[in-house]
Amino acid sequence: MMNNLIILPIILPAMIGAILVFFSKSQQIQRFISVIAMTAILIASIWLAIDVYNNGMRVIALGDWPIPYGIPLVADMFATVMVLLSAVIGVCCLFFAFRTIHPDRERFYFYPFYFFLIAGVNGTFLTGDLFNLFVFFEVTLLASYILIVHGSTAFQLRESFKYLAINVFSSMFFLVGIAYIYAATGTLNIADIGRRVAELEQDGVLNVIAVVLLFVFATKGALFPLYFWLPKSYTGPPAAISALFVGLLTKVGIYAIIRVFTVIFHHDLSFTHHFILVLAGLTMLFGVLGAVAQYDFKGILAYHSVSQVGYMVMGLGIFSPLALAGAIYFMVHHSIVKAALFLFSGVAEKITGSTDIRNMGGLLKTHPAFSWLFFITAMSLAGIPPLAGFFGKFSLIVPGLEETHYVVVAVSLFVGLLTLFSMMKIFSHSFWGRQKHSSTQANIKTGGLLITIAPLVVLTIVMGLAAEPIFFYLLDVAHEILDPSIYIESVLGE
């Protein structure tokens, strides 16, 4: 009976999304229901995380069909961390959306698709079946297409068409990869594939499948050289939606890469994981170079999230417990910090009416609280101790040196320096200097908006100060991931 707890983070947002459609005319009822629902999802996620930590992995066979024939939902520690993260980001972005989203958008099914997106994201984290992963990917993407085009300005329409075409193309290749895997192993249950791959002695075929799936997930997660769609698609929509996307959507791709390349494709580490490491280095470098050249507030942040995807994948490429723990820590840290920064860009846009940092200036004088909160978050992203970003990078660089991947470590240090540089660029342009906004704009109150972002800022400080207990927990998670037999045995029940 307790196993049914796993479905709550998926089915709750899905049902709430369906219910909210009925109330699309009334702003008040929609907000009321969505606050209650989001809180319930958060509570369910915390409950699930605690339960899995205490009692071990939970597996549920949907429809009571015996595994591996039916579709299982699997909640291991890694998945529950991600589900909890999505709930936290979801709550903060929802409250920010209340204050910034235009009433017309609220009436045009903004909240239903917000919840469908959360349902899809949680589904990808929890599913134990490769085809079901595809289905949840599509649920997430369909909701994201609609949220990204919400408002239909010319810029949004143009960019979201490209976003859609690229994502549909990579989804097709996901199906191709599934077809190959089904032909090679005769099953689609991730744990069962993992077991049969070990018996299959055809590394060539497996490497082909690995590369096809890596292409798919790299497109969704914005890895080099497939990141080109991300910056513009993430600058189009309003800040609340951009923050939600950057916190959750790219993480879905990275999560899938980590899951697939630990349970299934660990037969030929020197090929696959070395390849991933090279991609990680290139992603970091090109992402940050793009950011340095930008003058758009959101554009800089979007390019940075490309570069930081590189760090997460670097942890997988190094493939040691500490590196994986670091990668997961970095994913959590990045979601929180980057969502907060995108929300800050929304605040800055509300004050100055622009997203170009060359049109801003002197915000420190007129909005000191906003400026210092931004400063803390930006420093966390740049990796200044004792904030969370420092421990994320530190825990990737140490195992990198231990495993003698000197080049990628050097790249990551250099990228860290450039990150600091471009964060300072935002700060010196828009917060220092001459005041460029009018005195009426200077009197705009931002307190209500800042309260919704403050939890994220507090979280990044807490994650930095409490890095040691968090890492003990994440090392447990990493050990669980690195030993696929734990996953395989608990799912198949042997």
Binding site: L142, V149, A154, L157, R158, A165, V168, Y180, Y182
Partner: protein, 112 residues
């Protein structure tokens, strides 16, 4: 039969990819559609063709073909049905708002 299907799938992928890279919006949509057909055929072919009777009980058959790929394709068709409908509407709106269906002119500049 598998060989023939592989060739067909290859041709579909080729045409789909070609259309995806053309400049007209509607051709891109058709390209996406063709690619989805190609992947559905590929799924069917990879699981083996004509290995038995249709997977229906109480018909006096003993040898059945694998029902799973058919279930997968049905799901994939439903999804691509939804995506195609959305793509068409989006392409139409893009055309209306930007007043062009030429992707070269939809590229956008850096100063926005």
């Amino acid at each position: 039969m598998e060989l023939l299907m592989s060739v067909v799938v290859g041709v579909f992928f080729m045409v789909g990819t070609y259309l995806l890279m053309t400049r007209s919006l509607i051709r891109v949509v058709i390209g996406i559609n063709l690619l989805s057909h190609a992947t559905h055929l590929l799924l069917l072919t990879m699981a083996g063709l004509k290995t038995g009777a249709p997977p229906l009980l109480n018909r006096g058959e003993t040898e059945f073909s694998d029902p799973l790929p058919q279930a997968l394709i049905l799901t994939a068709i439903v999804i691509s049905f939804g995506i195609t409908a959305f793509t068409l509407v989006l392409a139409y709106r893009t055309y209306k708002v930007n007043k062009t269906d030429d992707l070269d002119q939809l590229r956008g500049s850096h100063d926005e």
